[in-house]
Amino acid sequence: GAGVSQSPRYKVAKRGQDVALRCDPISGHVSLFWYQQALGQGPEFLTYFQNEAQLDKSGLPSDRFFAERPEGSVSTLKIQRTQQEDSAVYLCASSLGSGGNEQFFGPGTRLTVL
């Protein structure tokens, strides 16, 4: 009965470095979301997967952001050439059915870009 896990929990990167954030959703969950949460703000939608298909990436802020879920389970959010404005908590959530169902969130990865 493991929940959603994310790694690393904390990541410090120098500006210009590439980072990769991992999400392990609940087994059997079809839907997977990535969100970006700045300090004091609500989660902002980045991208949505249904199984291995990335059905919506309209929230990705720039082409430096890339997400994948190649086998329909684990997902990776990659940020290339990190900038200071990328500093935020990155949350992953999964749900059993379509995106309209209850979402189970992971603990998040706090990214700090220096």
């Binding site: 979301f33 969100y35 703000q41 609500g42 989660p43 902002e44 939608f45 949505y48 249904q50 059905l55 919506d56 309209s58 929230g59 949350l91 959530a93 995106g99 309209g100 169902n101 209850e102 979402q103 189970f104 969130f105 992971g106 603990p107 998040g108």
Partner: protein, 109 residues
């Protein structure tokens, strides 16, 4: 596209009631409510579906007015454990999901 919540913040004494409102400029087909405690991930509270069906896990009630594109969350006899930031959220066009602006709730003894 982001739903707007009111109030932005509220402080209650234990046992008092509160109402949190969520309003959208777009048609709402369903509304989710989540609570996030400081430094933690959001936790699901309930879903309200068009047509009045409600799903939830806690003794917190909510209403959904599709015509007015609004939802309200009712917390009665608040407990210390209710403290946190409450977000409404709604699926949007395509497969996006938008969270509201958030309401910070603090319950004091």
């Amino acid at each position: 596209q982001q739903p707007v919540q009111s109030p932005q913040a509220v402080i209650l004494r234990e046992g008092e009631d509160a109402v949190i409102n969520c309003s959208s400029s777009k048609a709402l087909y369903s509304v989710h409510w989540y609570r996030q405690k400081h430094g933690e991930a959001p936790v699901f509270l309930m879903i309200l579906l068009k047509g009045g069906e409600q799903k939830g896990h806690e003794k917190i009630s909510a209403s959904f007015n599709e015509k007015k594109q609004q939802s309200s969350l009712y917390l009665t006899a608040s407990q210390l454990s209710y403290s946190g930031t409450y977000f409404c959220g709604t699926p949007a066009a395509g497969n996006q999901f938008y969270f509201g602006t958030g309401t910070s709730l603090t319950v004091i003894p």
